[in-house]
Symmetry: C2
Subunit: 458 residues, 2 copies
């Protein structure tokens, strides 16, 4: 067994909350996407920040890797213990510590999932907005800078985390940010930790922003003759200042997937799925303005869903995109990837991805948070088919390069993890050296999620 001394000390600290059973190790080595299983040497279940600190002190002293584990919904292998060591499962730190309704924030532990938080908030008239689809843990969402369908209006985790408590590699517990809405005091360590994928510190507490549940919520769908028309409609809508709560693009293939999976019966054309939030009068005004804009771009079949039931059905269908893609691929695995470009280049990026997939003989669905210029491609693959996997890898790499060529980024929300480290140099150039300086300064023994985010030193 590797890291024997560390594991022995951890066992003394945690008792049966350190597990080396094969079942638990294998469970923690799995992922939803295409990475091979990577079981850790042991799984630790801390219950307090003080315990996380003690764990890190032990691991730091012995050079034992520590990989934080939330809901395991990350899509680039961020939660996999690639270099062995321990998987730090935050599931037992899952409480809501405070809801400050007047200040519209909540203090939570990292293992809490977003759906549980929203359950807890039900009586307050407030909600937590960030919705990446999966019922992810809030610590994991912060660590991967998650976003999702509502980011166009309410922002990503970057905009919705006010403060963090984190344990650093040497066991030091820090707090960054306050319960005030803004601050101009010192280096923004909160934003440095957000998106650091567990490589700079372990998040042990979050203060997140909440938003008022709007008086009125209405959803709608419409379809277009081309991706260009749909995207140009979105650009005009955003420029007009319409505070869209959700604005999602589904390409023809994605629609075909929904038809296959949920018998949606939609014509196989690019669709927009929309949501409007506001006062009753405000939503009516927004929908009216959107309708006028959509007409300019030849939208057809503008249908609204104002009842909770109809809306939920619509977004349930949207959130099943992964399974719908799988249905289209006749049970194959789905290799998900994402990219984000300036919205002016979005139609070009989507059409390029569609063309590339066709030319590479890959079945590919596209669904996008188009208000942000961000879209996902879901490739149907058979992990046993090395040649198909190689084509999928080629597609993914090309999409990342397309993102950079069009002035964007290789990932809008899935992050770097294992799979996109090779693109870090192309995206960040000499800035990468300064990221390495931070990593070296914060985690000199490289115990925090080694082999993620930063590419190996050249």
């Amino acid at each position: 067994m590797n890291h024997e001394t560390a594991l022995s000390e951890l066992s003394g600290l945690l008792g049966d909350r350190l597990s080396t059973s094969m079942a638990e190790r294998e469970l923690h080595g799995q992922n939803e996407t295409y990475y091979a299983a990577m079981p850790p040497d042991a799984v630790a279940y801390p219950e307090t920040t003080a315990e996380v600190s003690e764990i890190l002190k032990i691991c730091n002293a012995h050079g034992c890797p520590v990989t934080a584990y939330g809901a395991a919904s990350s899509l680039e292998g961020q939660h996999l213990a690639r270099a062995g060591g321990i998987s730090l499962d935050m599931a037992r730190m899952n409480r809501v510590l405070a809801v400050n309704a007047e200040d519209m924030n909540a203090v939570v532990q990292p293992g809490l999932t977003r759906k549980f938080l929203n359950e807890e908030l039900r009586a307050t008239g407030l909600f937590f907005s960030v919705d990446p689809g999966a019922d992810a843990s809030l610590g994991g969402m912060a660590a991967t800078r998650a976003s999702g369908t509502t980011a166009v209006r309410y922002g990503t985790m970057r905009e919705n985390v006010l403060a963090l408590e984190a344990v650093m590699a040497d066991g030091t517990v820090i707090r960054t940010g306050t319960k005030a809405r803004k601050s101009s005091t010192g280096y923004d360590l909160a934003h440095l930790l957000i998106g650091s994928e567990g490589t700079l510190g372990i998040i042990t507490e979050l203060t997140v922003r909440l938003h008022g549940i709007p008086e009125m919520t209405a959803a709608a769908t419409c379809r277009f003759d081309s991706v260009e028309d749909a995207v140009n409609c979105v650009i005009t809508t955003i420029q007009a200042g319409l505070p869209m709560a959700r604005i999602e693009l589904l390409d023809e293939m994605m629609v075909r997937g929904f038809n296959a999976y949920s018998h949606a019966g939609l014509p196989e054309k690019p669709h927009l799925f929309l949501e409007f939030h506001g006062s009753t009068a405000g939503v009516a005004d927004q929908m009216d303005t959107f309708g006028t804009i959509a007409d300019e771009f030849g939208a057809e079949a503008f249908r609204t869903a104002t009842t909770t039931e109809d809306r939920n059905a619509l977004w349930a269908m949207r959130h099943d995109a992964h399974y719908a893609s799988a249905a289209l691929g006749r049970g194959k695995h789905i290799w998900p990837t994402d990219v984000c470009v300036p919205i002016s280049r979005l139609a070009e990026a989507v059409v390029q991805a569609q063309t590339d997939a066709r030319e590479m003989g890959l079945t590919c669905t596209i669904v996008g948070h188009v208000g942000d210029g961000n879209f996902h491609a879901g490739l149907s693959v058979d992990p046993e088919d090395a040649e198909e996997m190689a084509r999928a890898k080629e597609f993914t790499d090309k999409l990342a390069r397309t993102g950079l060529r069009l002035g964007g980024t290789v990932s809008g929300e899935h992050g770097i993890g294992i799979g996109k480290r090779q693109h870090m140099a192309a995206e960040h150039g000499d800035a990468l050296g300064f990221m390495r300086r931070i990593k070296a300064g914060f985690d000199p023994n490289n115990i925090l999620n080694p082999g993620k985010l930063l590419p190996a030193n050249a």
Copy 2:
């Protein structure tokens, strides 16, 4: 003369764009607030990023301090060359490099001021939202994480900078962020530089977000019997999800200042100054909802200003707060300070500040971005009166401690600079050590704005 070798090499590089004239040095050593003059040894006027890089290489080799200089409107001495060396005046790097209307962003040089940018944007239907009052430079605004009256709706510089180019202490030019609206790739160096007050790198280019000019803008004022009533009205308004564009609190003393300076003729009670943005119907709806809420809290004299002329008059008065405070102080200097607390504690913080000022025998006006929980206190002081200056210092320190006690931060927008370094340990605790690691990693020779932001090592 100090730093002779560095200045000689800089002179060779820049010719007459390196000035050691007493007049220019003295000009660059001044500030709008209460800090003693601190002239640099020389003033450099770079014209390109490549020149900034060469300048930093020279200064880094010789340990010569470099302090970036924008519009000199910083309020905690951030632009003062406290340790001598050169003042890096960015005034010649003041161009708009691109306006990307479809993507709603602009690429600008750091010496450009926000008003010039908005002039350039006039024909596009877009505007740059961050408005700290002063016509600050955009580089300086990013470096100090500026905000202002519109942050409640459109965010601070933290939310409005998409990407930066910066020159690091060793002359390396980096780019961080992209033109895409979001990204989840790597450490967020953009947010690390935003608010770093020129201590980690020199910003040489910014990509900033733009917003659509709303179809309708309306302003309004109303008054309340107490600060508590005014603040509770604001809390309810924000919770109701009203997308206020501006919501400013003026305390009784500030109103007295406006009466003295602009003959405003307002009753000396707490006032709110408001602005609503949206469609014509949307603004009417917002104003109606606000009016109902304000009534609950006993608001009187709700007056609207829908013409551009009336609105401009209102905000011109608000932006003259500094001079109005001076008028009240009968020509004394104004010592400005700020603090930011959770909005639920705002009334308590304001009343505490009013009480403290009264008990300390200080004339103090309060004006606040109450939607953010942020307010400014303006103390009338005579810099020649050491005893009064000591009382003002005591007030400022106590206000900072009040901010922390109430769960907030020692500054919402003025920053740390020279004056609030002593509060950094109380606010950040062990996180301060990690800020020092970043500084040591990025600027090992401590040439970038030494003596600012981080307190001296214990």
